[in-house]
């Protein structure tokens, strides 16, 4: 082969390699680099999640181990705010308070209200509050009512007065009462 032809062929081949290199860069390396960058960011985010999960897990483990030792406290809290409506227990308590105060109970109605969701920041985790409304029709003296209200507000299970109606009957210091009280439970 003549030198001139060889030189031309060599230059042509060099140009082919350069163009080939540029084409591989543009068509394969650039997309591959993009994919790799995405995967690297995925790795970084997963590593961050793993770090956070590890921290949260260790905290939760600590809390759970502490919680295992708090069964007594949990029982006490359940007396004030039970994990279910416990209508029978609430009825017993409210009627015992009323009759123990000297009120003559004429009738008791129970109404279960809709659940009130929590207003805390992490409300999605916290279960709402169920409300039981007791409507007592009773009669008695002013002192018996006063005693009942004081006992109800200091009862272990929370009782909140909702409505109160007092009407004078014929007899001296004797009244008809319509007392609405709310008590609460953890909704499921």
């Amino acid at each position: 082969m003549k030198y001139s032809n060889l030189r031309m062929f060599s230059i042509f081949l060099s140009a082919v390699f350069v163009i080939g290199a540029l084409m591989i860069f543009a068509m394969f390396i650039k997309p591959a680099y993009k994919t790799i960058a995405e995967k690297r960011s995925e790795v970084a985010s997963r590593e961050s999640i793993l770090g956070q999960t590890k921290a949260v897990t260790s905290q939760v483990k600590n809390i759970l181990s502490e919680y295992q030792n708090l069964s007594e406290l949990q029982n006490e809290i359940s007396l004030s705010f039970p994990q279910d409506s416990s209508v029978a227990s609430a009825l017993y308590q409210v009627t015992s308070l009323a009759s123990g105060s000297g009120l003559n109970i004429e009738s008791v109605n129970v109404l279960e209200s809709s659940i009130v969701p929590s207003k805390e920041d992490n409300a999605s985790l916290i279960k709402g509050t169920g409300i039981l409304n007791f409507l007592l029709r009773a009669s008695g003296s002013y002192e018996t009512l006063s005693l009942f209200l004081t006992k109800a507000e200091n009862n272990v299970r929370i009782f909140d007065l909702d409505t109160l109606r007092i009407d004078k009957t014929g007899a001296s210091n004797f009244f008809d009462f319509i007392i609405g009280v709310n008590t609460y439970y953890l909704s499921n």
């Binding site: 390699f17 350069v18 390396i29 939760v60 949990q74 809290i77 004078k168």
Partner: protein, 215 residues
């Protein structure tokens, strides 16, 4: 002789330089090297780095999944119940109604010679409707003034009055109570209101609360 040597020198130095021509192998080698590097980078990324990252993502996912299963769902549910109880109980105790405050308030802020015959309390609306009998309009206006001046009353309004046949003047008053009225300390923090002049008259035995109290 001299001419002959000059000719030789001229021949040797003054003749035009002959350029050597050949194929540019250095350029070819360089481009082959460049092409090879590019290929190496591409295959390094595709065969080496990308599978490595995939494997790392898989391992991290597995580790995260393993961590989240390190305690049972029932344990978590029990704890969430307990936490919900605590959180809700805190709110409930914060809003706990001290209902006996209403009776204390009436005992401390009612005139002696005034008798209540009815009471209607709606705690949600903080509305207290009082009905009763009073001996004169003077006493009634004093009672209204006491309620108006009370730090625990947001708004007081007189609804109506009617001269009764035997029992004096029947009246109806509506009070809107302050939002902290039913808090534990509200009665203690509010100073008692002393009326400008308290008319002296017989105490009604039919009163709900004022029979045994003095404002």
């Amino acid at each position: 002789m001299a001419e002959q040597s000059k000719t030789l020198i001229e021949k040797e130095f003054l003749r035009p330089e002959a350029l050597k021509t050949g194929w540019p192998w250095r350029l070819l080698v360089f481009t082959i090297f460049l092409f090879g590097i590019i290929l190496l980078v591409f295959f390094g990324m595709k065969i080496g780095y990308e599978p490595y990252l995939d494997k790392k993502i898989k391992n991290l996912d597995a580790e995260i999944g393993k961590l989240s299963q390190s305690f049972s769902q029932s344990e978590v549910n029990d704890f969430l119940k307990f936490y919900s109880q605590l959180s809700n109980l805190k709110t409930l105790l914060g809003n706990h109604i001290f209902s006996s405050n209403i009776l204390k308030f009436l005992e401390e802020n009612s005139l002696k010679n005034l008798a209540y015959t009815g009471l209607n309390l709606d705690i949600g609306r903080r509305e207290l409707k009082l009905s009763g009998t009073v001996s004169s309009y003077e006493v009634l206006s004093q009672q209204l003034e006491i309620f108006r001046q009370s730090a625990l009353v947001e708004k007081s309004s007189f609804k109506n009055s009617q001269q009764g046949e035997k029992t004096g003047i029947n009246f109806e008053i509506v009070l809107i109570l302050k939002s902290d009225f039913f808090k534990e300390t509200s009665i203690l923090s509010a100073p008692p209101i002393i009326p400008i002049s308290t008319p002296v008259s017989s105490t009604s035995s039919e009163a709900i609360s004022p029979t045994s109290t003095q404002p």
